[in-house]
Amino acid sequence: MSRFRKEGKSEVPAISTASMPDIIFMLLFFFMVTTTMKETNVMVRNTLPVAAEIEKLEKKSLVSFIYAGPPQNKAVYGTEPRIQLNDRFASVSEIQEFVTQERDARDEVDRKLITTSLKIHYETKMGLVSDIKQELRKAGAFKINYSTKRLVTRR
């Protein structure tokens, strides 16, 4: 009994924080690998509809985006659905110019492979969507993608 006497009261040792930088670096590398730099600030509400028959867009560099939906800042811009091209609101008539710009920004070879991705809020009415599609047809941008979220079927 005398051999195993506790040598005085010892405090619980403080938790070592030496591994904290390692954990943070791991998190950092995770985000660096799985994310892409945001290109534009989306100013419209953009909850996408869901669909099951979807495909992944292969080359991100060959995709141009058109956002449509009710503006996030209701007080300033109202509740009517708007189109956003690049960083600002635009009207339907500006779509042809936008397509030409996007085409010029890319190589000759890639021009035919450009896909226009339509990120449209699910509550938008088809009137606006069909106007966008008409302008895209007139501008010659035939390959389009209706951006959706994946429908998860519960078995």
């Binding site: 924080t17 030496a18 904290m20 930088p21 943070i24 670096f25 998190l27 950092l28 985000f31 660096m32 799985t34 994310t35 892409t36 730099m37 945001k38 996408l48 509809p49 869901v50 669909a51 099951a52 028959e53 979807i54 495909e55 992944k56 867009l57 991100k60 995709v63 896909t115 991705s117 339509l118 449209i120 809020h121 699910y122 509550e123 938008t124 009415k125 088809m126 009137g127 969507v129 069909s130 599609k133 008409q134 895209l136 047809r137 007139k138 010659g140 941008a141 035939f142 390959k143 389009i144 993608n145 209706y146 951006s147 959706t148 979220k149 994946r150 429908l151």
Partner: protein, 190 residues
């Protein structure tokens, strides 16, 4: 004679890591770009004649501003749309209620029967985009099932399990997505 150099204080390494993490959290998105890919048709020239299509080859899908569905003039349900489209586009030999069937030959597949059916989709300006996407999704689902059936029949495997891309292409060519969309009308306003 190596002097013992003082250890670099590693306490600030965590701060640097936090700063970089917050930078990346703020400036990046985890957007996965997925969706339904479609090919639009070129705008028709002003004086193009309206092509004459046999009525039995067309399945008319109408959606109104209340998102109510109508197939060939009869009210229909979105949940049965995929089955209805698949049934319409399947091969029903010698049945006048279904589209005309023709025999074509394809590489890797040989002679197969293809349906000349066309799905005609018309929505009003007041239809919601969500309903439109649901319909597109159901139609695409029907065609995928038809393609899987053909792949199963010819190669014993579903189309997404086929290894040879030539076979996948051949099936896609044999069963083409034949959807025709009309300009939305403005009946009943938004």
């Amino acid at each position: 004679m190596a002097r013992k150099t003082p250890e670099v204080n590693a306490g600030s390494m965590a701060d640097i890591a936090f700063l970089m993490l917050i930078f990346f959290l703020v400036t990046t998105t985890m957007d996965v770009d997925i969706g339904i890919i479609r090919q639009l048709s070129p705008p028709p020239p002003k004086d193009a004649p309206i092509p004459d299509i046999n009525k039995r080859n067309i399945m008319t899908i109408l959606v109104n501003s209340q998102d109510a569905l109508m197939i060939n003039g009869k009210p229909a349900d979105i949940n049965t749309l995929k089955a209805d489209v698949k049934d319409f586009m399947s091969i029903h030999p010698d049945d006048p209620a279904y589209p005309v069937i023709e025999t074509k030959s394809f590489e890797f597949l040989g002679e197969i029967q293809v349906s000349k059916g066309i799905i005609s989709l018309k929505s009003l300006r007041g239809t919601s985009y969500e309903m439109y996407i649901k319909i597109q999704d159901q139609i695409a689902g029907a065609f995928t099932e038809l393609r899987n059936d053909l792949a199963m029949q010819k190669f014993g495997k579903k189309q997404d399990k086929l290894v040879d891309p030539n076979l996948v292409d051949a099936i896609n060519k044999a069963i083409k997505l034949s959807v025709s969309e009309a300009e939305p009308e403005d009946i009943g306003g938004k």
